[in-house]
């Protein structure tokens, strides 16, 4: 199994969620996040005083999928989250050793 973590623009969350549901992903965890990448945030101007805002609001989305699905899911997320502008975010894949559904005690594939 793989854990796919995506940090994307907040307004793209709905697009990503819909795309994943269409693909067949049954659940996900979403957290509010803030951060920056290569572009280093943005500049805001208040009465001529410029502020560099480095930590930009993002959402962090996590799904666990079967090994065979990970490449497709990765692709789905990237396509849905893409605006083409700077600050679109990152997606990465990490291996998961085991997973247990708390309610039933089912493990791994059954627990997804």
């Amino acid at each position: 199994m793989k854990l796919i973590t995506a940090v994307v623009k907040p307004h793209k969350l709905e697009d990503v969620r819909t795309a994943l549901e269409t693909f067949g992903v049954t659940g996900m965890t979403v957290t509010e996040a803030s951060g920056y990448g290569r572009q280093k945030g943005h500049t805001e101007v208040y009465r001529g005083a410029e502020y560099e805002v480095d930590l930009v609001p993002k959402v962090r989305l996590e799904v666990v999928v079967e090994d065979g699905d990970s490449t497709d899911v990765l692709d789905v997320i990237v396509k849905a989250a893409q605006t083409g502008k700077i600050g679109d975010g990152k997606v990465w894949v990490t291996p998961v050793e085991t997973i247990v559904r708390v309610r039933t005690g089912e493990v791994d594939g059954d627990a997804l």
Binding site: E44, V45, Y46, R47, G48, A49, E50
Partner: protein
């Protein structure tokens, strides 16, 4: 002075205007409150609110009398109507309105003038220091300045700026804005810069509050300017239109400067441009034509947009740009009379552009120089005295923590409700058991005893 008959229309207009001007102070509280950081918004609003309380009391006791009760050498009134003595009588009439309507209207000006100053010392002033300053500055500066600028005894005499220098200040460019702006500069210097100024971000915490405040100020300003006609007639209509025109033009002026300098037209710039326009048209609203107001507004908006960066160049921390908007805006508007004044307008003075020569310009400059210097010097001395005695600036650690918490034991927003709990006197810490449980508990006790 000949006794005139009360006119219901005039009276209604002045009373409504008084209420409109009153609304400007809560409006200012929102305008300033939105511009400070989360940890200072309540203190900022309280600094406006307390001037309502302190100045109202002062005004009734001696303020009105010292400002508009008689004349001593053109610089101050006397105590003849202290406590508003005799002014509730039906025969107490000023022009065509009851004198008390004038008392109420002018009170609102006395309230908002010191409130304007507070923006210069956001985040770092002790509340009691501010209260003492408001009481002293209003008594020693606002009352005599308003007297000098506005008091006329009906026989050609009165305040020395009105009758001696003959400077025009229709609704308060000199008496309110230059006066408050100069005091603000003095306070910003005496109290010193905020901790982290020019290093830490100090961006406004709520621009919607700023816009709400600017909107209330704009709305109330119709009372401020058009109410100053003290009658519901042509002068009120001219000043009303000029106020609207200049303010709209100033928004455009400010935004043009922003667009050129930073590539964006900002919301704060829009709100600031509006206030700059309102400030600038205040002295001139009775002296210019609507086209004159248009020019005045766009120029004032542009100049003030540049002026707010003065503090960075000169190194004083006027937190919310009271100097850049009120001192500079008031000066621009007041001096503009010398250029754009038209004999066709109610004040009936031709400026330079209308063939009137430079005389009026000189009179405007002199009046503002006198008021500005006087206000700056007295405010500087008062602030130093307060700082050396009861303290005017809060401690550095307290400033970092937030002036709201330290000065008022409150914070504006509940970000982490789950982490807070009621802490009161020892007896109030534990919630008493609900009444309904009492019989059950008794029964259980009995059962236990029997067992």
């Amino acid at each position: 002075m000949t006794l005139m008959e009360i006119n219901a229309g005039d009276t209604a207009w002045v009373l409504v205007s008084a209420a409109l001007v009153f609304l400007m102070t809560p409006g200012l509280a929102f305008f300033y409150g939105g511009m400070v950081r989360v940890k200072s918004v309540l203190n900022m609003m309280m600094m406006s609110a307390i001037t309502i309380a302190v100045v109202t009391v002062l005004w009734v006791v001696v303020g009105y009398s010292l400002t508009f009760g008689g004349d001593n050498g053109g610089v101050i009134g006397n105590f003849s109507v202290a406590g508003l003595k005799g002014l509730i009588a039906p025969e107490a009439v000023s022009g065509t309105i009851p004198t008390l309507a004038f008392v109420a209207f002018q009170l609102m000006f006395a309230i908002i003038t010191p409130a304007l100053i507070s923006g210069a010392i956001a985040d770092r002033a002790s509340f009691r220091g501010w209260i003492v300053f408001v009481a002293l500055w209003t008594s020693l500066v606002y009352f005599p300045v308003a007297h000098a600028v506005w008091y006329l005894d009906g026989e050609g005499g009165g305040g020395f700026i009105a009758t001696g220098i003959k400077a025009i200040d229709f609704a308060g460019g000199t008496a309110v804005h230059v006066n408050a702006g100069a005091a603000a500069l003095a306070l910003a210097i005496v109290l010193g810069r905020r901790v982290g100024w020019r290093k830490d971000p100090m961006r406004p915490h709520s621009l919607p509050l700023v816009v709400l405040g600017a909107g209330l100020l704009w709305f109330g300003w119709f009372g401020f300017n058009a109410g100053s006609a003290l009658s519901a007639g042509t002068t009120a209509a001219v000043t009303f239109v000029n106020t609207q025109v200049a303010t709209a033009a100033a928004v455009i002026g400010w935004l043009i400067v922003e667009r050129i300098r930073h590539g964006k037209a900002t919301t704060l710039g829009m709100a600031s441009g509006a206030v700059a326009g309102l400030v600038a048209i205040t002295p001139a609203c009775g002296a210019v034509t609507p086209v004159g107001a248009l020019i005045l507004g766009v120029v004032a908006g542009g100049i003030c947009a540049f002026a707010v960066s003065l503090k960075y160049k000169l190194g004083f921390d006027d937190s919310l740009d009271v100097v850049g908007v009120h001192l500079v805006g008031g000066l621009v508007g007041s001096l503009a009379i010398g250029f754009l004044g038209s004999a066709a307008a109610p004040s009936a003075v031709d400026g330079l552009f209308y063939g009137g020569g430079a005389g009026q310009l000189g009179r405007q400059a002199l009046a503002n120089l006198i008021v500005g210097v006087y206000s700056f010097v007295v405010a500087f001395v008062l602030a130093k005295l307060i700082d050396l005695t009861i303290g005017f600036r809060i401690k550095e650690d307290d400033e970092r923590e937030g002036v709201d918490q330290v000065e008022h034991a409150e914070t504006a927003y509940d970000f982490l409700a789950a982490g807070s709990g009621l802490r009161g006197p020892a007896t109030a810490v534990r919630t008493p058991a609900p009444v309904d449980d009492a019989p059950a508990k008794d029964a259980a006790d009995k059962e236990g005893a029997n067992a």
